[in-house]
């Protein structure tokens, strides 16, 4: 391995504010996510941090803690990596401004990182996976299959044309009176349910591509709920468990079937160590994980899912992506500005929509 490099990563593009210190030998010296736990408990996990000022205040403290836990000072750091998009503009700007200030004050180089690249490169941090590998990013806000070919080279094979599965889990929980976040509560409820009690659709399975749709599935659950309410004046606990089980199975079937298609495309590249990696909060769902494992097994491909703390939003992945870009001496984004929209793959046509494709902006 080359000389030791240590990077400070900063992430504030979503609801959480985070900072981490990571070395290029894959040691995570610290990984701090500013606690919104109390707020989450009070508001059901749906409190976004909008004010750039509030982000900035939290960033100060979070970065100081990440450095302290790593037993490093700013002068021990080789570079500063910061999420510069995509995301909510207030958060992204406060992170970028903070990083710029730190870089100017310390004379350290600054690396702008795409938040999604951070997620997509995480299996390299945890498993040292060689390129190219197939990545399924599946979370509250994202759902896409990517072939990861390099730190700055991604090919998108397909994605959701409407909602992401994590959003569908949250909304199904809302429809059925289950607590937020919906992922764990729907999964727990599904354990005692019969997945075949209700006939729920498997959207877009008949299409030969890797695109998915989850919005209609949510509406199908709503329709079944309302039918039950009309017929029997409410829904029983068993109805609710059955609906959860049916919904989870539908999501799982769709993801597994589309993963098999994505694996076919990926294997055409003759990868040296064929692997499907899954990242994002939805990867915590046992049934979905198992279905993806089976799809990988039958394609003769290894399967890996980084631990949840590195799958949900965090700054260690940003520091790692910074290290990867640093290692190939990527010029980064010049000038470093906040980008609310920043597709990982700007060459493949966007997939969202009614199936019509054309030139991208």
């Amino acid at each position: 391995m080359t000389a030791k490099r240590t990077i400070l990563g900063i992430e504030s593009s979503c609801d959480d504010t985070a900072a981490a210190v990571v070395q290029n030998d894959r040691t995570i010296l610290s990984n701090v996510v500013a606690g919104q736990t109390d707020l989450h408990a009070a508001f059901g996990g749906v409190v976004p941090e909008i004010a750039a000022r509030a982000h900035a205040e939290k960033l100060d403290f979070t970065i100081a803690r990440a450095l302290a836990e790593a037993r490093k000072s700013l002068s021990d750091i080789d570079a500063i990596a910061v999420t510069s998009g995509p995301g909510l503009i207030g958060g992204v700007i406060s992170g970028v401004m903070m990083a710029r200030g730190l870089a100017a004050g310390s004379g350290k180089p600054l690396i702008g990182v795409n938040h999604l690249a951070g997620h997509a490169l995480t299996p390299r941090l945890t498993d040292d996976l060689p390129f190219p590998y197939l990545m399924l990013l599946v979370s509250g806000g994202h759902c896409q299959f990517l072939i990861v070919k390099g730190p700055d080279s991604f090919t998108r094979l397909g994605g959701t044309i409407d909602d992401a599965p994590g959003e569908a889990f949250d909304k199904v929980a809302r429809l059925l009176g289950l607590p937020q976040p919906g992922g764990p509560s729907v999964e727990a409820e599904a354990k005692t349910g019969d997945p075949s009690a209700f006939a729920l659709p498997r959207p877009l399975l008949n299409r030969p591509d890797c695109d998915m749709s989850f919005s209609g599935l949510k509406t199908a659950v709503l329709r079944e709920r309302d039918k039950l309410v009309d017929a029997q004046g409410g829904i029983t606990r068993q109805n609710r468990a059955d609906l959860c089980a049916g919904f989870q199975s539908a999501v799982s079937d769709v993801l597994a079937a589309k993963a098999s298609r994505a694996l076919n495309d990926y294997l055409d590249l003759n990868p040296s160590q064929p692997t499907l990696a899954v990242a994002g909060g939805v990867a915590a769902n046992e049934q979905i994980r198992k279905a993806l494992q089976i799809a990988s097994d039958s394609a003769g491909v290894a399967f890996t899912a980084p631990p949840l703390s590195l799958c949900t939003d965090n700054a260690a992945m940003i520091a790692w992506a910074g290290l990867e870009l640093d290692a190939i001496q990527h010029p980064g984004l010049t000038p470093l500005v906040a980008r609310p929209r920043w597709p990982l793959d700007a060459t493949s046509p966007a997939m969202l929509g009614s199936g019509k494709k054309g030139a991208k902006a």
Partner: protein
Amino acid sequence: MPLHLKLPGPDDTAAVAVRLAPHLRPGDCILLTGTLGTGKTHFARALIQKRLSDSGLWEDVPSPTYTLVQTYEDKTSEIWHADLYRLTDPNEIIELGLDEAFETAITLIEWPDRLANLTPDGALQITLAMDGDARTLTATWDDPRLSLLGAENG
């Protein structure tokens, strides 16, 4: 006079959005009210994609539930698509820059009750409701363009 439409399926919801899309201009605001699953995002996505494709553009139109706001730019206007469900304080509207966008962009707002007294004057109000598998759409707008929503081949 409010306009009432019956929308048998998702394609009919999209068709209303597509009819209206070319006639919008910066400063127009559409407030989309309705419970979960009534087609608010579906309506907004169809409208945005129509405007983008009329400008020769194509872009993802993801759900704004987690990001709160997604912005787009076609040849004549910026478009802001917001889902305010997660907001708890009207001051956050100002933090998001929505109050400015109401004047300079075409804005599509889901869960507009969160706007409270920041609701812009002269907005097109669309309410979607379940009617079995169909949806009903009720629209009020102090603007002659209201009639465009109902024109079958307009």
